[in-house]
C-alpha cells in the first residue's frame, strides 16, 4: 500500500506534467512527428503489473 500511495502522490504532483506532456504531444502530431504512448499500459507491462493470466 505504501508503494501505491507514493505512486499516487507522485501522480498528484505530476498532474501538471500530464497537462504539458499532452501539449507536447499535440505539437508533435500537428507537425507530423511521431508521438509517444505515455499511458499506463506500456508502463504496467514493463513493470509486470499487467500480464497474460496463466
Amino acid at each position: 500500500m505504501t508503494d501505491f500511495l507514493l505512486r499516487q502522490l507522485r501522480h498528484g504532483v505530476w498532474y501538471h506534467g500530464i497537462d504539458h506532456r499532452s501539449q507536447i504531444d499535440t505539437i508533435l502530431s500537428t507537425h507530423g512527428l511521431e508521438t509517444l504512448d505515455l499511458q499506463m499500459w506500456p508502463y504496467a507491462m514493463e513493470l509486470g503489473a499487467s500480464k497474460e493470466a496463466k
Binding site: 501505491f4 501522480h11 498532474y15 505515455l38 497474460e52 493470466a53
Partner: protein, 173 residues
C-alpha cells in the same frame, strides 16, 4: 478519518471534468464542434470520450457503472455526458472511500478484447486508477488547446483551483 489520497485524486479528476462541462454549457453548438490539429476531435466528442473511458477503467477493476455507455462515434448532448459523469462520481465515492479496495492485488481484466486462443489479461488495479486521471487530464488538455486556438476562454482546472474551491488551501488567519 483521513480521506484516502486516491479518492482525493479521483475527486479532483471528476471535478475538473465537471468544470469543463459547465464551461461548455456557455458555448454554442458550433463552438462545441470546434477542433484543432493534434487533438482527439471536437470538444463534444472529446468530452464524451473522457467520461465513457472513465466507465471502462472502473469496469476493468470490477465496477460496472453502466453497460454500455453511450456510443462515442455519435454526438451526445452535454446533459447525457453530465448524467454519466454523475454515475462515475458515485462509483468513485462508493469504491474508493472504503478500505476494501486493494490496489496491488491482481484482478482479471474482463473488458479487453483478446484474440481467440490468447489468455486473458490480469492487472494490478492501481494501473486503472492511475490511468483514469492520466487519460482525463490528457484529453482535457486537448479541449484547452482547442479553446485557446479559437480564442475562447479556458477554465482553470489544476489542483490549485480545486484546492481553493474546496477550502484545502486558504489564507492563514
Amino acid at each position: 478519518m483521513t480521506t484516502p489520497p486516491i479518492l482525493r485524486q479521483l475527486r479532483h479528476d471528476v471535478w475538473a471534468t465537471e468544470k469543463v462541462i459547465a464551461h461548455c454549457r456557455t458555448l454554442s453548438d458550433a463552438q462545441l464542434d470546434l477542433t484543432a490539429p493534434g487533438t482527439y476531435g471536437t470538444i463534444r466528442r472529446t468530452l464524451g470520450h473522457i467520461v465513457a473511458a472513465d466507465t471502462r477503467y472502473l469496469a476493468r477493476i470490477g465496477q460496472v457503472v453502466v453497460e454500455p455507455p453511450f456510443r462515442e462515434d455519435h454526438d451526445v448532448s452535454l446533459d447525457e455526458i453530465a448524467a454519466l459523469l454523475e454515475k462515475v462520481k458515485a462509483a468513485v465515492e462508493r469504491v474508493f472511500a472504503g478500505k476494501e479496495f486493494d490496489p496491488d492485488r491482481f484482478v482479471l481484466d474482463t473488458v479487453s478484447q483478446r484474440a481467440p486462443g490468447k489468455p486473458p489479461i490480469e492487472m494490478e488495479p492501481w494501473m486503472m486508477v492511475t490511468q483514469f486521471p492520466h487519460h482525463g487530464s490528457d484529453h482535457r488538455a486537448h479541449i484547452g488547446t482547442i479553446l485557446g486556438a479559437h480564442g475562447i476562454e479556458t477554465p482553470g482546472l489544476d489542483v490549485w483551483a480545486y484546492g481553493w474551491e474546496i477550502g484545502a488551501i486558504r489564507e492563514k488567519r
